[in-house]
């Protein structure tokens, strides 16, 4: 989601032969891009208008039946709404869990800050399967979390193979993305501004609510956009923590593609995910304009 900037040589004149060289240099990457990205994605969009035959067959057609069928089926309406609600919940939980860390990191300095930043990034370099496996061990029925809750005198709730497990696992998995987005947006947060508010007699809570929070809203918006789109399209944690009992968009796409072999329906659901992405992006730019304006 970030674009790199280059220092282009100013006024560099290129001889006509460089065009031929450039084409030769770009040909391999263009080829991979065409075979592995452009062609598959256009084909996927086309597939969503094909007709699914019973038993996994596909008839070439140009019908909106998949789309209308999807929007009339109460199972899928509920699936879509559930996916959006759960993803919003995960995004909010991730924000709550990440904000203090990001604020602390923003204020830290030197080697301590570098060390903590590495700690934040390191889970990103660990496979999602491994981290989900760790959560399965933690949240299992006789697991450590359940034991602690029981020791405090409460009845431990079921935290595996349901939405609770999915939310806890994904919150932790998405935290690094949120923390890095928040930190990127914290640039405007000058400690002097906080100090000014405190010397003028504002309580810590009031300083946070009226000074710190408004200044960090752009970072919050960016982090929420990123986590929402990652949450609604995440598959591994959903599949493993849900244990086949939590049905959301990503698992349904996989099941339709691999188990039921209804590719037109899987393609339609995928396109739907992309439409939700577009909607999230539109909301984000609106919110950003409201904050800045």
């Amino acid at each position: 989601m970030t674009t790199a900037t280059f220092d282009m040589p100013v006024g560099a004149q290129k001889p006509s032969s460089t065009a031929g060289i450039a084409v030769a240099l770009l040909l391999p990457i263009a080829l991979v891009n065409a075979i592995g990205f452009i062609l598959p994605v256009f084909n996927l969009a086309r597939m969503s208008f094909n007709e699914a035959l019973p038993g996994g067959g596909i008839a070439e057609a140009f019908t909106a039946a998949n789309w209308t069928g999807l929007l009339q089926d109460s199972f899928y309406i509920e699936l879509i709404l559930n996916s959006i609600m759960v993803s919003l919940g995960i995004t909010f939980a991730t924000l709550l869990a990440s904000y203090p860390i990001a604020l602390y990191l923003h204020r830290a300095s030197g080697a301590w800050r570098t060390f903590l930043t590495v700690l934040v990034i390191s889970p990103l370099l660990t496979s999602a399967v491994v981290r989900t496996y760790g959560w399965i061990a933690l949240l299992a029925e006789q697991g450590p979390v359940a034991n602690v809750i029981a020791a405090m005198g409460f009845q431990p709730p079921r935290m595996m193979f349901n939405t609770t497990g999915v939310v806890i696992g994904l919150t932790e998995i998405l935290m690094p993305y949120m923390i890095l987005s928040l930190m990127a947006g914290f640039g405007r947060l000058d400690p002097k501004v906080e100090e000014a508010a405190r010397t003028l007699g504002a309580t810590p809570f009031r300083t946070f609510w009226r000074v710190i929070l408004p200044l960090t809203l752009p970072g919050i918006a960016l982090g929420c956009l990123l986590c929402f789109v990652l949450a609604i399209s995440s598959f591994i944690t959903l599949k493993l923590m849900g244990g086949g009992r939590v049905f959301l968009l990503a698992t349904e796409i996989y099941d339709q593609a691999i188990v039921t072999l209804n590719w037109p329906l899987a393609a339609t659901l995928s396109m739907l995910v992309l439409i939700i992405f577009g909607a999230a992006l539109a909301v984000y730019s609106r919110v950003l304009r409201m904050i800045e304006g």
């Binding site: 290129k14 460089t18 598959p40 084909n43 889970p123 399967v129 491994v130 450590p144």
Partner: protein, 264 residues
């Protein structure tokens, strides 16, 4: 910070949240030394039996070798393809280079579940499913954007003066590239190598669509294992994977500094 009356509250909160963030990764270390038959924490006894079980598990070992070979081939190809491409985009400044850069990095914007399905449908008609070639192309789709991005930034930050000096002293363009530009890009190349290797080695979702019983990778095999049973075997694999990642990251850190390579 010291005179801030809320700082102790902040510190405790941050400590708890860091524990939450790191708990699942830290937990696999003690579990991998479990002597129990099933996944439980804390284990009732300690042993190395799950590391022995791993060495004796042919499916896991062959999946590991496939992953290692796949990630190596993908990394080498990524560099061979992305270095010329970044040169064309940044140095030759071809028409529409910004559009091309965005197009070639666009696969990263798609969710892997959508990209995986899209590639599955196309590869099925080309007979590339569950083949090594199919996996290589599928992985290149997502490693090339990283390689192109890191290499373009690295190339863009280089001072043109050295290259200009070399060519004004009579060096041919290819010699300038090979003897001046390429060596100066070394930190970027190291970062791109590490990133491509880790991305390819860890890739699950796209690979899940492209593998079959004939050909499977380690992350996909781990996924199926966790899906079907809960034993400490995955923990021992995880520990080895984490140590491998750590080794790769330390090599990058020695060469160019971790934060430079991954944060910017």
């Amino acid at each position: 910070m010291e005179d801030n009356p809320t700082s102790w509250f902040m510190r405790i909160t941050v400590t708890i949240l860091f524990l939450f963030l790191l708990a699942p990764v830290l937990l696999v270390f003690p579990i991998s030394f479990s002597g129990d038959q099933i996944l439980a924490f804390p284990p009732s006894s300690w042993s190395l039996r799950w590391y022995e079980a791993l060495l004796g598990n042919n499916v896991m070992m062959s999946a590991f070798l496939t992953s290692l070979g796949l990630a190596s081939v993908v990394t080498v190809l990524s560099l061979i393809i992305a270095i010329p491409a970044s040169y064309a985009i940044v140095r030759l400044k071809v028409t529409g280079s910004e559009f091309l850069f965005n197009l070639f990095t666009a696969p990263l914007l798609l969710p892997t579940i959508v990209l995986g399905l899209a590639i599955l449908i196309i590869f099925a008609s080309m007979g590339l499913l569950a083949t090594f070639t199919g996996l290589v192309i599928g992985h290149l789709v997502i490693t090339l954007p990283y390689a192109l991005r890191v290499l373009s930034v690295s190339l863009g930050n280089l001072n043109l003066a050295c290259e200009e000096a070399a060519s004004s002293l009579g060096a041919k363009p290819l010699a300038v590239f090979g003897k001046v530009t390429l060596p100066m890009m070394a930190p970027g190349i190291v970062a791109a190598t590490a990133l491509c290797f880790l991305v390819s080695f860890d890739e699950v979702v796209i690979t899940l669509f492209l593998t079959g019983p004939r050909m499977t990778t380690l992350p996909v095999e781990l996924f199926h294992h966790v899906e079907s049973q809960a034993d400490p075997l995955v923990a021992s694999v995880s520990v080895l994977l984490i140590l491998m990642t750590l080794a790769v990251v330390m090599i990058v850190d020695r060469t160019m500094g971790l934060t430079k390579a991954f944060v910017k």
